[in-house]
Amino acid sequence: MAEVKLEVKNLTKRFGELVAVDNVSFEVREGEFFSLLGPSGCGKTTTLRCIAGLEIPDEGKIFIKGRDVTMLPPQQRGISLVFQEFAVFPHMSVYDNLAFGLKIRGLPKDEIRRKVLTIAESLHLTDYLGVKAGKLGLSEQQRTALGRSIAVEPEVLLLDEPLTLVDAKVKESMRRELRRLQKELNITILYVTHDQLEAMMMSDRIAVMNAGRILQVGSPMEIYENPKNVFVAKFIGSPTINIVEAKLEKEDDMLKIVLNDVKLDIEKKLPKEIGEKYAGKNILIGIRPEDLLIFKEKSSPYDIKCSVDMVELTGNKMELHLKLGEMSIRALSTIRFDIEESSEIYLRIHPEKTCIFDRETEERIA
């Protein structure tokens, strides 16, 4: 396994009464693209600022390459940071921006020049080198900022929502560029974002945060398929996962989920001892919209009748808003078919593809 570049141990940061970061621990390995993902105000930026040295944590330690940097000033930590906004120095040319850190380190002129040109090349900035950075478009500015941060060869590159303000089309290509560059130069990146899609597309691993705590750490696929709790399940994936309430019943010594008169066999999914504990209780079932099968006719005893509330066609797929009793459910279909609003439709749920959560704690039980 690759070397650990950044280690955060039991980090806590309070602002008065507010606990912005609550006992957060994680590690980032060399060459890894690690994302801190969470809604705004969840403490991800504060965590980043503590790592950068712009905030002093109240508790906990931060190690970069095994060295305790918790109390070191920012410039001695071997890190760079790209902000969401105001990332480039507007009064300097792109060249001077890229050369900023190198000049401060007192590198010889020709070496600076060589490095700047290489970076400008790989970020497609060669044509802009003489332009004042403040006059550039946002995407060029962000690329310049990125280049400036990479130029000093930081141990860890911190990115604080660098693509949020870039417009949608450019964003997509910049995501790919960033990922390519990261792999090419083997940069260790800690990426902060509230955009789950961005995190899913680029990261090797993601830490999902809420209310100052890390809820789950894992690869994008792990988190998508095996969310630890309802929050993570809901935060990842678009359209959002369906969470429906149902009763767990024991019938003929078999565990079944009761949903609108339909009984689903869940024996394979739910380990016996857990099933025993929850038998007779209400539970939450999470199921991704794309995992629902839709039928126009009832074709098996497991099909659940729903009414169609709204249909959204996005071109290559259809998003159906369904009503199951009081609950609303979203389903995604890649096959297009004619369906009228407020008509009836049948859903089939595969128990293997569901996640089951405790109704009280909202933690995953199976």
């Binding site: 410039q75 940071l81 902000f83 380190r105």
Partner: protein, 282 residues
């Protein structure tokens, strides 16, 4: 309709311009009038002359014209004095103002209310503290010296530097400074390489404002200087005789005094546009 509104607009603008420019035009015309025409109420001189200017540069003399007499030195020395005193005091006030404003803006020190007290010297009428200062200066041997005036001017006007520049610095996002810190810059490098260049327009406005105030300052200079450090406004006031004023040479002096501000204004005019949008650096 549009022609009428337009006409009204231009008449209004014309009126405003006249209001401002007539005194200036009067001074310019007066400067070229010979003595007999000084008190006559028409603009253009009938018999234009340069004698009012020439007289200013002549060695120490008693100027006397029909009852209006004055003993005056040539204008060269006060002119150079003004440039030295106002130049240095402006530079000191702007930079001291910048660093104070930086501290106040970034660290909330010494607190917003304390910053208000920097205006104290501007709340008192200068006449109230010119006498104590004269006593201090007399003890410190600073009377009639460049240094004395420079220090006083800088101290009195630094508050404008602080207040103007604080607005500009507040508008510089901290992210820029933080990014520079992370890139390895020390705090002073951050200030000199990032913050200072970003508030360049602010430095220009504050500088111009302070320069003009000090350039026209009369009271302090009148009380605290005598021979060596006399500034232009004081020099102008010397063209007053026992019986009457020497209007012609005073007008000529007025024109000479406005040369430096005019040149400075011309050089920095491109900054002024940016500057009057007050601190919008983005």
């Amino acid at each position: 309709m549009s022609i009428i509104t337009r006409a009204i607009k231009y008449i209004f603008i014309g009126f405003c311009l006249l209001w401002v420019l007539i005194p200036v035009a009067w001074i310019v015309c007066l400067a070229f009038k010979p003595y007999p025409e000084w008190r006559v109420a028409y603009f253009l001189p009938k018999d234009p002359t340069l004698s009012n200017f020439v007289i200013l540069f002549e060695p120490k003399q008693i100027i006397g014209m029909m009852g209006a007499t004055a003993i005056v030195d040539p204008v060269t020395r006060p002119f150079i004095n003004s440039i030295i005193v106002v130049g240095f005091s402006t530079i000191i006030a702007v930079f001291a103002g910048f660093f104070t404003a930086y501290g106040a803006s970034r660290y909330n020190t010494p607190g917003p209310f304390s910053l208000f007290f920097t205006l104290l010297t501007r709340m008192l009428p200068p006449a109230t503290f010119v006498t104590p200062i004269m006593v201090y200066y007399s003890n410190l041997k600073l009377l009639d010296t460049h240094l004395g005036l420079i220090l006083l001017y800088a101290a009195v006007t630094v508050t404008y530097g602080i207040w103007i520049l604080k607005g500009f610095i507040d508008n510089v996002p901290r992210e820029w400074e933080e990014a520079a810190l992370l890139e390895g810059a020390t705090h002073s490098q951050v200030i000199f390489k990032v913050t200072l260049p970003l508030v360049k327009s602010g430095l220009v406005v504050a500088g111009l404002f302070i320069f003009l105030l000090n350039w026209a300052e009369l009271l302090f200079a009148l009380v605290l200087t005598n021979v060596n450090a006399v500034t232009l406004p004081v020099h102008i006031s010397k063209y007053v005789g026992a019986v009457g004023q020497l209007y012609g040479p005073q007008a000529a002096l007025g024109i000479i005094s406005s040369l430096i501000p005019l040149i400075i204004g011309y050089i920095i005019q491109k900054h002024l546009v940016a500057a009057f949008t007050f601190g919008m650096v983005r």
